[in-house]
């Protein structure tokens, strides 16, 4: 059975136009249509309830406390009974004729079948050239960046095997934004069959687009969240490398300065040496970097912090009378 999830928000006008098309295409396929509505102010859920009289295979979920396309799709998938799960928009921009092809592809190969705008035969329809270029550029970048094996990971029109969804579902965080396919693709096991079917975007049947800056912000946030998740192992490795590397580097310096901790007399003489350098040469303590301490002398780097361009130099200071000489002096 095919379970088709249609997430809606203010689509009361579109739904009565879309459902007959779906019923026509899926007439000989066992199916259910699940409308998940985010408590639309235009009463989409009420309209859908009314349509149940005409379409008995229609299930309506009205969400009052939650919003967002991705989470609506997941809610629909969880309520679905079919072995193939599919998603499409309610606005009629997705070609219903492809539902059968997506269903059959998933039935035959398992995995995920994506209706793609960016493979030969597909397209963005009547989009402005600038919008197409922008969308294609972002899609290409995301695909490369996340090493995805489909050409349109941000398509909202796809079908997937139920058992695959059940495997991924526990690892799904609370999803935000509207690129649910992208979120799923980032979590599919290696070797999952992925197929693409070309399609061309068509204009809306009714209603208004929900593509806003807020939606794009949510996508940006989910992209960052996924990036962090995907590179978490690398972050852990980097943390360990930093911890070990810095420990080694700092241990060498700490060893060179160990007498400051273990020998109170050397500590006191060092403190006096700093005061003496300040009194006799006028050097600022903040410009002196202690590199090495032994019972007879200190090794310091004199590195002025200012805009004078004075070169830093290494000096050694005798701890008996606080006289100093350059490190390279014989």
């Amino acid at each position: 059975m095919l379970s088709l999830v249609i997430p809606t928000f203010n689509e009361a006008e579109s739904l009565p136009l879309l459902l007959p098309r779906i019923a026509q295409v899926l007439r000989d396929i066992p199916h259910e249509v699940i409308v998940v509505d985010d408590d639309s102010p235009d009463g989409t859920w009420r309209k859908a309830e009314e349509l149940k009289k005409t379409y008995p295979r229609l299930i309506v979920i009205r969400r009052k406390d939650e919003r967002g396309l991705s989470s609506a799709v997941i809610a629909g998938f969880k309520a679905a009974r079919g072995e193939v799960l599919a998603v499409m928009d309610a606005d009629g921009q997705h070609d219903t004729e492809l539902l059968r092809q997506l269903y059959e592809t998933v039935r035959a190969r398992r995995g995920i079948a994506v209706a793609s705008r960016y493979i030969p035969g597909g397209g963005t329809g009547q989009w402005k050239r600038s919008r197409t270029l922008m969308s294609r550029g972002v899609t290409r970048a995301v695909t490369m960046f996340c090493q995805l094996k489909v050409h349109d990971p941000m398509s909202g029109f796809f079908a997937m095997d139920r058992s695959l969804f059940e495997r991924i579902a526990p690892s799904l965080p609370r999803l935000r934004g509207f690129k649910v396919l992208f979120d799923l693709l980032m979590r599919v096991p290696t070797g999952t069959p992925l197929a693409e079917v070309p399609y061309t975007f068509t204009p809306r049947m009714a209603g208004r687009s929900k593509l806003s800056i807020k939606v794009q912000w949510d996508f940006g946030c989910s992209l960052i969240a996924l990036f962090l998740e995907r590179w978490s192992r690398a972050a852990w490795a980097f943390f360990l490398i930093l911890l070990i590397g810095l420990t080694c580097l700092l241990s060498i310096r700490a060893w060179n300065l160990r007498l400051l901790v273990t020998d109170a007399a050397v500590r006191a003489r060092t403190s006096e040496a700093f005061r003496s350098l300040s009194k006799t040469d006028g050097w600022l303590t903040s410009d002196l970097l202690l590199r090495k301490v032994d019972p007879e002398r200190l090794e310091l780097l004199y590195a002025p912090h200012d805009r004078s361009g004075t070169n830093e130099r290494c000096i050694r200071v005798r701890l008996d009378y606080f006289g100093w000489y350059p490190c390279d002096a014989s």
Binding site: P173, R174, S212, I213, K214, W217, L228, E229, W231, S232, R233, A234, A235, W236, A237, F238, F239, L240, L242, L243, L246, T247, L250, S251, R253, A254, L257, L260, V261, T270, S278, K279, T280, D281, G282, W283, L284, T285, S286, L289, L290, P304, H305, D306, R307, S308, G309, T310
Partner: protein, 397 residues
């Protein structure tokens, strides 16, 4: 869309206004210290990054804008402390952050305390999140390491960090590595930088001799009030106690004790993320939203002018400009008699040294912040007229 875009640009605008005010107040010695990457009192991460931009014209202004923007835009993280709540309640929380006197006073100042507060805010966010964070353990560990290597004050938030790592399903050694590893590394770093330890000891002793315990407690109370603009100060403590958020309570107490022994006015911001997380822990406190916002605005209006830092007179810059005009070449030595701050090093194209009468022949500029009679007898030296302090130059002819 407007609900999202307007606050975003509104906060940027507010950040720019506060930057202008801070820029007008001038460069403090602490700010100069960080911009110059002076190797104390804090660990090196952020000051090293700032030091990399030393060549940049307008370096201070750049970092003021970065710090102010980051501090104010953190309102979005604040709103994320209550993901399950209505937008209106989350917005109140955001307003409490933005209207906190500490945030308004410190936005645009180049200090480590606001950065430590931001890092603490992220840890509070992780503490209050109900989701599993196992997938992000590497990032959280890196954040903890980075926080400690930005400012020692990150240690004040150790109870929160421990609680965050404790909640994760990690093996015992992983947990130990994540929590103790960075702290041990910081201790090792401190051993390699005796100046940092010396400056910390000096700073901690400062308040111990400042007055009575009562005075010190009064100062801490004052900073607590600034940290939450009174309203959040009270609600935050009630919230963390009511919700029994022990990590927050412990961090709050640690911060209070730290300020008690080592008072600095800008430490008020260390309270702010804790108080905010306290309010978020008991969101019922946000019910009377209008009253909360109005009283917070009123408190901020009174507290912000009181807590705003004094204008630093641009002495150093004026004197350096005059010395250049008088023909002292860049790269020459400038000696300063008396006590002076790092801003002299920051603005000066000269090698800055303390005044040593015997070494006067090395210098070409002498600034007498204390009495320096030795120079008055020297014929080659000329006194600069029209500057607020006694300045002598020995230009090259």
């Amino acid at each position: 869309m407007r609900r999202f875009v307007s606050p975003f640009f509104g906060l940027i605008l507010l950040a720019l206004v506060l930057v202008v005010l801070q820029n007008f107040a001038g460069l403090s010695t602490d700010e100069a210290k960080f911009l110059l990457n002076i190797p104390y009192p804090h660990p090196p991460l952020l000051r090293w990054l700032m030091g990399l931009t030393f060549w940049m014209p307008g370096q201070a202004l750049f970092w003021r804008v970065v710090f102010a923007t980051a501090l104010l835009q953190a309102a979005w993280i604040v709103m994320a402390l209550l993901p399950e709540k209505k937008r209106s309640e989350r917005e109140i929380l955001g307003w409490l952050w933005v209207l906190s006197a500490s945030v308004l006073i410190l936005s645009g100042q180049i200090l480590m305390a606001p950065v430590a507060a931001l890092q603490a805010l992220v840890f509070c966010w992780l503490l209050l999140r109900g989701e599993n964070l196992e997938a992000h353990v590497g990032w959280i560990a890196l954040l903890w390491l980075a926080s400690l290597f930005t400012a020692y004050q990150a240690l004040l938030f150790l109870p929160i960090v421990v609680s965050v790592f404790w909640r994760l399903r990690l093996s015992a050694w992983q947990r130990l590595l994540c929590i103790v590893g960075p702290v041990a590394l910081l201790a090792l770093y401190s051993l390699t930088n005796p100046l940092a330890i010396a400056s910390m000891i000096a700073a901690s002793g400062q308040n111990a001799h400042a007055g009575t315990l009562f005075d010190a407690v009064r100062e801490v109370t004052g900073l607590w009030m600034l940290g939450g603009s009174v309203v959040m100060s009270v609600l935050g403590v009630i919230g963390m106690l009511a919700a029994r958020r022990w990590p927050l309570i412990l961090s709050f107490l640690l911060t209070a004790v730290f300020i008690l022994v080592s008072y600095r006015p800008y430490y008020c911001i260390l309270f702010t993320p804790l108080l905010l997380a306290g309010v978020a822990s008991a969101p019922l406190l946000l019910k009377r939203s209008r009253l909360i916002i109005i009283s917070t605005i009123l408190s901020a209006l009174i507290l912000v002018p009181l807590g705003y830092r004094m204008v630093v007179p641009p002495f150093a810059q004026q004197i350096v400009d005059r010395a250049i005009e008088a023909g002292v070449p860049k790269g020459a030595t400038m000696m300063i008699a008396g006590s002076f701050g790092h801003e002299w090093q920051y603005v000066s194209p000269y090698l800055v040294r303390r005044f040593i009468p015997e070494k006067i022949s090395d210098a070409r500029v002498l600034v007498c912040l204390a009495d320096c009679p030795e120079v008055r007898e020297k014929k080659a030296w000329k006194r600069l007229a029209g500057v607020q302090v006694e300045v002598w130059v020995r230009p090259i002819r």
